[in-house]
């Protein structure tokens, strides 16, 4: 029996956090230098930052996994992780909320105003009388030139199907884990990772098409801006999700989880569901309506 399991586990030192801070600092310093026009130094400093951040992740999560395997974490620690993950996801919801809010505000208020709605009649008549408030739009100056949006029932619909199925497979894997069927867990996780990767590949292809065939670019006015920021950050989150699922798969293969204790697995599946739900919002409000 490990005695420390009766009391709340408190680590005595944090080795990795300072490296994480240095990594973030150097990444952002480098990004700033690069954006200010120094194309060599900037990326180098950024790269150093990325290396520090990656080592931090390995080191920090490695320590946590070792402690977890050593039985240091009692149920109270488990609850801490649960609450922590819930509020982390909540912060992510608010992050996406900023971009959805932007989309709604622009689309429901700004664009009609530019088109002369409510008391903006004279502004419209005097400044840009030819502008028609239709969605999608790239504004009175036709920023980025004529473009069209991605057809809803092509790749986006397929991607919806893919992500929704991946939610099913990850839940299936979770049930299998609780029932103690290792093989099914592995199958479920592999399927989820495969679906996630397919999603990302489709998304990359979609970006390629957007730029080459639809002239839908970052410069395409407010539609292009909201399109790329929402789908881009979502794609980034899917990528992170796939990486985390892969880590979980490795841990399943190494037998780290029991049917009772497998919070890391649950945390990642919560995250995956969150990414899924964000996608539904994207599909409806960015691609469809």
């Amino acid at each position: 029996m490990n005695v420390s399991a009766d009391s709340y586990y408190l680590p005595h030192e944090s080795r990795w956090s300072i490296l994480g801070s240095i990594g973030l600092f150097s990444f952002m310093l480098g990004a700033g230098i690069w954006l200010d026009g120094y194309n060599l130094v900037g990326p180098l400093v950024m790269g150093a930052g990325v290396l520090c951040i990656i080592s931090t992740k390995f080191g920090w999560f490695g320590t946590v996994i070792r402690e977890s395997l050593a039985g240091r974490y009692n149920l109270q620690v488990d609850r801490t992780f649960r609450w922590g993950m819930i509020f982390f996801i909540f912060s992510e919801v608010m992050f996406f909320g900023a971009f959805f809010g932007t989309l709604f505000y622009e689309r429901l208020f700004v664009v009609p105003w530019l088109g002369g709605a409510t008391n903006m009649f004279f502004t419209h008549a005097l400044l840009y009388p030819h502008y028609r408030a239709l969605w999608p739009t790239n504004g009175p100056a036709h920023a980025g030139g004529e473009f069209s949006r991605m057809p809803t029932w092509g790749i986006p619909a397929l991607n919806t199907l893919i992500l929704l199925s991946s939610a099913v497979t990850v839940t299936w894997a979770h049930w299998a884990l609780k029932a103690g069927h290792r093989r099914k867990v592995v199958a479920g996780l592999v399927a989820t990772i495969a679906l996630g990767t397919t999603f990302l590949a489709m998304q990359a292809h979609e970006y390629y098409l957007a730029y080459t065939h639809f002239n839908l670019t970052l410069h395409s006015g407010i539609y292009g801006a909201t399109f790329f920021i929402l789908t881009g950050f979502h794609g980034l989150h899917v990528t992170i999700g796939v990486i985390m699922l892969t880590v979980i798969l490795i841990r399943v293969l190494r037998g780290h989880f029991t049917p009772e204790r497998h919070f890391a697995f649950e945390a990642v599946s919560w995250y995956w569901h969150f990414v899924d739900i964000v996608w539904l919002g994207l599909f409806i409000f960015v691609y469809w309506l």
Binding site: S14, G20, G32, F90, A141, I222
Partner: protein
């Protein structure tokens, strides 16, 4: 159990010495101290910038600095005081006091706690570095309004990234505080029994987690507009500069409550102690906190009355803003009622607390004036607004922080501070701060705009008065630092219950609080 259990050796002091102790520490008291020291340093850096501003405004015309540098000072002063001084001070107090107040051995996520702190010095290095770039630091004001902000040169990306870092630090810190409060309470410490400081922080932390990501999203859009050719904020592409104001103030108004709710918590601890009476209307205090937090999400438009919103929006934001006066009034009433017929003594923490109640109320009143749309059309962007938010932030948030430092310094250091010098600090501060900010009301009403280095001659007298108040206030804070140093290194020994009328778990542990407290949770009764 028959076998003898070898408990893992609990060090009663830090495991490492020197700098590495502070870099690797996971101890909530160490980290609290780090936050507080960091915040004090930032107070002085931000304060030095304020001195530059007041020196320049001492007379009309340009004396000391260029308009561009003046704007840089105004911008950095705001960002540093908000994100570097006030917020970290409150987080430092949370770190020190929440585990002690709820009977927890430490914060729930000690390593994350370390990281939340150690992001901050890097964030502010990034921000202050911009002073040395060609073109200097950001000039658009702490509100980063577009298009000013998008016209910045070299400093722009560093400012944006510094804000990202501050956001990461705050969100991680907020999560940690919420989890600690929800999961680390000693048996018997039910939610409704929690001290009000803890309640205030639970709600504050929730606000932090909710709105810092929105600011992060907003500045990311600025970054894209500046460097990647998007049109979030440009009308040409169908975007709108007013979008930035919505995003910023959706963050910004809850942010001002992030800076005042912990202060409310502190005052609710101090007033009962020195009135030797339990807090009046405890439950209503908790509900008031919660409703202020809720309302703070639906009032952001009061910063934008002159930005061109539909009249219906103006009206909505006017009424929702005035609603906040109700729970705020409840709190002020309850503090006064707590003092009513109490056996009051006026040690320094209580002096600051009483000054808080009076002066914060003045700031609240000017807030209600600003909330009236037709009146705000006059006051907006004038020195009246500057007077308003300095009453709520300096004589509000900062006075509460000082009250808290005097109140808990005996617990932290094991020594009593020198009461005479504490009172000196208080009286000098409270007089000079009013000399500094009260005239700004009149300047604003008379039409002096904010954020300008020069002004029309008729504003000279009041500006001189204000600047003199500013210099005295700035200088008085040196006494504060001297008192802190003196108390850390000596002074009368403090008892466990340093204040006769104090209640709460933090007073049951020795002073100074040992490195580890409540390794076995206390039993909370009654």
């Amino acid at each position: 159990m028959t076998e003898s259990i070898a408990l893992p050796a609990e060090p009663h002091h830090a495991t490492r010495g020197g700098l590495m102790r502070w870099i690797t520490t996971t101890n909530h008291k160490d980290i609290g101290t780090l936050y507080l020291i960091f915040s004090l340093i930032m107070f002085f850096i931000g304060g030095a910038m304020a001195m530059v501003i007041r020196a320049e405004l001492y007379q009309p015309g340009l004396q000391f600095v260029t308009p561009a540098f003046y704007n840089q000072m105004v911008t950095l002063h705001g960002l540093i005081m908000v994100f570097g001084a006030v917020m970290p001070a409150f987080v430092g107090l949370a770190n020190w006091m929440i585990p002690l107040m709820i009977g927890a051995p430490d914060m729930a996520l000690p390593r994350l706690n370390n990281w939340s702190f150690w992001i901050l010095p890097f964030a502010f290095t990034l921000l202050l570095l911009t002073l040395f770039l060609p073109g200097g630091a950001p000039e658009g004001g702490w509100t980063l309004y577009v298009p000013y902000s998008l016209e910045l040169g070299y400093s722009f990306p560093f400012m944006i990234f510094a804000i990202h870092l501050m956001g990461i630090s705050s969100v991680l810190g907020g999560i940690n505080i919420i989890v600690t409060i929800l999961n680390m309470r000693a048996p018997g410490m039910t939610l409704m029994k929690m001290p009000l400081f803890v309640w205030a922080w639970l709600i504050t932390a929730y606000l932090l987690v909710a709105v810092m990501p929105v600011l992060a999203g907003g500045v990311t859009m600025q970054l894209l507009d500046h460097y990647f050719g998007t049109h979030f904020f440009s009308v040409a592409g169908g975007g709108s500069p007013v979008l930035w104001e919505h995003v910023f103030w959706f963050f910004g108004h809850p942010e001002v409550y992030i800076m005042i709710l912990p202060a409310f918590g502190i005052i609710s601890e101090i007033v009962p102690t020195f009135s030797r009476k339990p807090l009046f209307g405890r439950t209503s205090m908790i509900y008031a906190l919660a409703s202020i937090a809720f309302l703070s999400f639906i009032v952001w438009g009061h910063h934008m009355f002159t930005s061109g919103m539909p009249v219906s929006a103006d009206l909505f934001f006017m009424f929702s803003t005035m609603l906040i006066a109700v729970p705020t009034g409840v709190k002020i009433f309850n503090w006064v009622a707590t003092m009513w017929r109490g056996a009051i003594t006026f040690e320094t923490p209580m002096l600051f607390a009483v000054a808080f109640i009076i002066l914060f109320t003045i700031g609240g009143f000017s807030g209600v004036m600003l909330a009236l749309v037709p009146a705000d059309f006059q006051y907006h962007n004038s020195y009246f607004v500057v007077a308003h938010f300095h009453y709520v932030l300096v004589t509000g948030a900062v006075f509460a922080i000082m009250a808290a430092v005097y109140y808990w310094l005996p617990k932290w250091t094991g020594h009593m501070y020198n009461e005479f010098w504490g009172k000196m600090h208080f009286w000098l501060s409270v007089i000079s701060v009013n000399v500094l900010y009260f005239p700004m009301h009149f300047l604003g009403l008379a039409g002096m705009p904010r954020r300008v280095p020069d002004y029309a001659v008729q504003f000279t007298d009041l500006n001189m008065v204000s600047s003199i108040g500013g210099f005295v206030f700035g200088a008085s804070q040196l006494i504060f630092v001297a008192i802190i140093f003196a108390t850390v290194y000596g002074g009368r020994r403090a008892e466990a219950r340093a204040w006769e009328g104090a209640h709460g778990l933090e007073w049951t542990v020795p002073s100074p609080a040992p490195y580890h407290t409540f390794a076995t949770p206390p039993e909370v009764v009654g």
